[in-house]
């Protein structure tokens, strides 16, 4: 059996104001402080579409290589719930703003504009509306512009969903149209999962997995669901269409509601709004204003700059890191991009993390200062291990690499006499491993190299030390 997975992704747009009224968007403000008659659905109010949200949707459509509908229309999707004050959500139904796109190896079925619901808080132990002591509604979120992206069922595994999801998130982040923060809910992903015999082109009964707030949980949830379906079918059972919730702590899947309770949304073309008819100019300008997107950037780093796969992906998914990397390369064109990329995504990222920093932008290290350090290593003036010590100081206190090297006396020992003396001293002080090396046990050389490095405070070139040790001990 193989798994067939399609995704529905909701992206909250980071416009100044809501989709259909002038209320400011905010996250984490006092509840119900960003409301007006329109988003509270008072009698007599009318929606007015947010032009910026339409522009953002067109940018997403361009980034996902979608066709843009010449006239897309809004519908009312009717259902009663306290988070939905009009008792209908304004969404797009049969004519969405964008169709038939692609991102990486996954086809996009459609992308449409809609408004977000308000946020419900259920007071009491259950945490759900049933059995709660009271339910509170915060209308600040109600009416936030959303783009819902629906993929074709082109994904095959939880891992692929995670990787592709990360690519989508990075792509939308690059566009600057959303915060794409899964924990805050500005990016939400639902997955439809089914299985079928390998080679079949018939889709099995799918289950829907809702409200997973990280791609890692989504990966695990989907894997658990695929496994559950496989076992069910293997034991002669049948998959039932239902909505599932994956609990990442217990690793269990819970059924939320079965399809028997399915809503009839009674879609109605929204009479209060005219169709969205983007001009040719709007569509072109969306295409032309696209920045270099992560997928393209990753392949450029890989194919043109020779950056290793993993580093290329890391860099291209995070604009800030990519900019930092390109800054290092630009500061000194003698530095190999591959080496610079490893320093940025490896040593620098690790050191920043160690010192509690996430992003390079706020740190004391600049692309130019890192370039100097990398240059010192490349020209063998500083050993790799000493350079790490320098970087630690640069991250903690700032400063220029060269000055730190001098102050700390970390310049690589280039005087072969000095190095030879250290090597001889190490052999003398460690007769046992020295003897082992002499008798053909090459592994024992590590202890001697370590001793020299320690004595030189990392200033020695490891390769040179090994060479000298071998020379002395083979005689």
């Amino acid at each position: 059996m193989e798994a067939v997975i399609g995704l529905e992704i909701h992206v909250q747009l980071s416009t100044q104001t809501k989709m259909f009224c002038g209320c400011r968007l905010s996250f984490g403000d006092e509840p119900n402080t960003h409301t007006c008659p329109v988003c509270l659905a008072h009698p007599g109010v009318l929606p007015v579409p947010n032009k910026k949200a339409i522009d953002y949707a067109l940018l997403i459509a361009a980034a996902l290589e979608c066709e843009v509908a010449p006239r897309s229309i809004f519908h009312r999707k009717n259902y009663f719930y306290p988070d939905n004050p009009k008792a209908y959500q304004i969404s797009q139904f049969d004519i969405p703003i964008a169709i038939n796109g692609r991102l990486g190896d996954v086809r996009i079925h459609r992308a449409h504009l809609e408004e977000d619901a308000a946020k419900m808080i259920h007071v009491g132990e259950s945490g759900r509306i049933q059995g709660s002591d009271a339910s509170l509604v915060d209308f600040n979120r109600g009416g936030t512009p959303l783009v819902e992206i629906v993929t074709e069922p082109d994904l095959k595994s939880g891992a692929q969903v995670r990787e592709w999801g990360q690519l989508l998130r990075a792509t939308i982040k690059q566009l600057g149209v959303s915060n794409v923060n899964m924990e805050e809910g500005s990016l939400r992903c639902d997955a439809n999962v089914s299985i079928r015999p390998v080679g079949s082109d018939v889709l099995g009964t799918k289950t829907e997995m809702k409200n997973m707030n990280s791609f890692r949980f989504i990966e695990r949830g989907i894997e658990a669901e695929i496994e559950r379906q496989k076992q069910l079918v293997a034991s002669g059972g049948r998959v039932v269409q239902e909505t599932l919730h994956y609990d990442p702590t217990s690793g269990e899947l819970h059924s939320l509601r079965s399809k028997e309770e399915a809503h009839d949304y009674r879609y109605l073309p929204e009479p209060d709004l005219v169709p969205i008819a983007p001009s040719e100019q709007m569509i072109t300008s969306a295409r032309e204003s696209l920045p270099e997107l992560p997928a393209a950037k990753a392949s450029r780093y890989r194919d043109q700059l020779g950056v290793q796969d993993a580093a290329a992906l890391l860099l291209s998914f995070e604009t800030e890191w990519a900019e930092f990397f390109e800054g290092v390369v630009a500061a000194d064109d003698s530095i190999e991009p591959r080496v610079a990329a490893n320093w940025v995504t490896g040593e620098l990222a690790a050191e920043l993390r160690k010192q509690g920093d996430e992003a390079p932008s706020g740190s004391r290290v600049t692309p130019a200062s890192l370039a100097v350090l990398v240059g010192l290593v490349a020209s063998k003036r500083v050993s790799h291990s000493a350079a790490k010590n320098v970087l630690e100081i640069m991250v903690a206190e700032g400063g220029e690499a060269l000055e730190i090297v001098k102050e700390q006396g970390l310049e690589q020992i280039s005087d072969s006499g000095e190095l030879e003396a250290m090597v001889e001293a190490a052999i003398e002080a460690n007769p046992k491993p020295a003897e082992q090396v002499r008798s053909g046990n090459d592994k024992a050389i590590g202890a001697l190299v370590g001793a020299v490095m320690k004595q030189s405070k990392g200033r020695a070139d490891g390769g040179e030390v090994t060479r000298l040790l071998k020379e002395k001990l083979s005689g």
Binding site: P37, L40, A41, H42, P43, G44, V45, L46, P47, V48, P49, R76, N78, F80, P82, P85, K86, A87, Y88, I129, S135, V137, D264, R266, Y267, L268, P271, D272, L273, V274
Partner: protein, 485 residues
């Protein structure tokens, strides 16, 4: 000047008196507030005191209507003032904002006399669907004023307001204007902002004037029309509206839609209509027959489309944020009991009809088909206006009927809008002017008969000119109804 003169004056005349300083805006307001508060027609659901009447009003405005007070249908949201759409479900509701049309009138210096009675959520043709009792026809208080803007029509015809704002979805301005012997104009869909007008059927609802004569209708329309950024379907009327001055109808052609006029018309109404047609010819207008082949299906289409939109528009009345709320702690029960108690029978009937028409599996058979009928009616009007300048009909097939006469038979009641619904579906402007008197079919004293003229979309100016010329020739005296004040 004596109060009686002020009460007899049209709004335009009153505005002129105020401008010339012959009467002060303050005197004018107190006269009319006194009239409004002595309402015996149940025309008002709420009447203002002086402070409330002037709240938000620009008294220094130099508009052509400054100082002339106006009655507002209770379907318009008015900040801090009870607004119920004549429904129990909105009891106690005071909106936090004011409708655009009302704001424009306040900005033009017009005080608000009060909020007028109506059929609940504008659903009805007799005003008997008000949760607060029907308004009465000032010509005969045992008869209905029409609906849904029945309170506005009764107030103007009964001398309780110089003029009033109403709304028309399928005839809700024109039919009560006809039944009360006054002028009512439904503008082109999109002419006037719908922002703040409590929605019944959004693709049909349009705000318009109910007035004593055609000049007042033009004057009031000129103040409310215009594009509003709060209503993306609003466009305004290009070039605005000026006061009509035509004296003849030479060179103008009028079409009688024979497909529509075949059935169910009172003989008295027919006689007045025929007489009015002769008057048109006497004024130099030419009259001919035109085809509106699908117009007779208008009522059927309307009673699918309007309830469908209404069923979703009225879903927001759930007891959560405003209006009445049942205290049941279970969410579904709270919804059901609140809505069960809050809505009247006709509103529930239409919510059920509309919900059914939109439900999956029935959508194409009902809503989809009704939309196609609407499209054909639009084309019919396009074709007719290719041949004639105006389409004319009686406004209503009958004169005002007795209270309770049709309440048990919704289908007969729905037929009251037979001649007005097609124009609503086509979105074109139409005016009803008083054209004579006729005896009710079951006998009794004569009651007013309305004459409807429809024009192409945004042809309001031409429509008003024609109506103005005809009004002068018909000589309907525009006086207050027999049993008014």
């Amino acid at each position: 000047m004596p109060d009686s003169d002020l009460k007899a004056a049209t709004a335009a005349e009153t505005a002129a008196l105020i401008r010339r300083g012959e009467v002060s805006a303050g005197e004018c307001l107190s006269t009319w507030l006194e009239q409004a508060s002595a309402d015996e027609l149940n025309a008002y659901l709420w009447t203002a005191d002086e402070a409330a009447a002037l709240d938000g009003v620009d008294q220094n405005s130099k508009s052509p209507v400054t100082g002339v007070p106006v009655a507002i249908k209770d379907i318009f949201c008015t900040r801090g003032v009870p607004t119920t759409a004549a429904s129990k479900i909105l009891e106690g509701y005071r909106p936090p904002y004011t409708a655009t049309a009302v704001r424009r009138l306040a900005a033009a210096g017009m005080p608000m006399l009060g909020k007028t009675n109506m059929d609940e959520f504008a659903m009805g043709s007799s005003n008997e669907n008000s949760a607060y009792g029907p308004a009465l026809n000032p010509w005969d208080r045992k008869r209905v004023p029409g609906g849904s803007s029945g309170g506005s029509a009764a107030a103007v015809a009964g001398g309780l307001a110089p003029w009033a704002l109403g709304t028309d979805t399928g005839g809700s301005i024109r039919q009560p204007a006809a039944l009360c012997g006054i002028v009512g104009l439904k503008p082109t869909y999109g002419s006037v902002s719908r922002y703040g007008m409590i929605a019944f059927a959004s693709s049909l609802d349009q705000c318009g004037p109910l007035t004593r004569d055609v000049t007042d209708a033009a004057l009031l329309l000129s103040q409310i029309e215009g594009r509003d950024e709060m209503d993306s379907t609003s466009t305004g009327i290009e070039g605005g509206i000026s006061l009509p001055s035509a004296i003849g109808l030479e060179g103008l052609s009028f079409g009688i839609p024979v497909d529509l006029l075949g059935e169910g018309m009172d003989p008295g109404v027919r006689a007045v209509f025929d007489q009015t047609v002769s008057t048109i010819e006497g004024l130099g207008g030419s009259v001919r027959e035109v085809r509106l082949a699908h117009a007779s299906h208008g009522i059927s289409a309307y009673y699918v489309l309007a309830p469908a939109e209404a069923s979703t528009n009225l879903s927001r009345y759930d007891g959560v944020r405003y209006g009445i709320r049942d205290s049941n702690r279970d969410l579904a029960s709270m919804y059901e009991i609140t809505r069960g108690d809050g809505f009247g029978a006709e509103v529930k009937r239409r919510i059920m009809l509309g919900t059914y028409a939109l439900s999956s599996g029935y959508y194409d058979a009902y809503y989809g088909r009704a939309q196609r009928v609407r499209t054909m009616i639009v084309r019919d009007f396009d074709a007719a206006f290719g041949q004639v300048d105006f389409v004319i009909t009686p406004t209503s097939p009958s004169v005002a009927f007795g209270l309770g006469e049709k309440t048990l038979d919704p289908l007969t009641m729905y037929m009251s809008d037979l001649f007005t619904v097609p124009m609503s579906l086509a979105g074109v402007p139409a005016i009803s002017i008083p054209s004579g008197m006729a005896s009710p079919e079951g006998g009794g004293e004569k009651m007013p008969v309305g004459f409807q003229i429809a024009a192409p979309a945004f042809g309001e100016q031409g429509l008003l000119e024609a109506a103005f010329a005809l009004e002068a020739a018909l000589g309907f005296d525009g006086s207050i109804g027999r049993e008014g004040r």
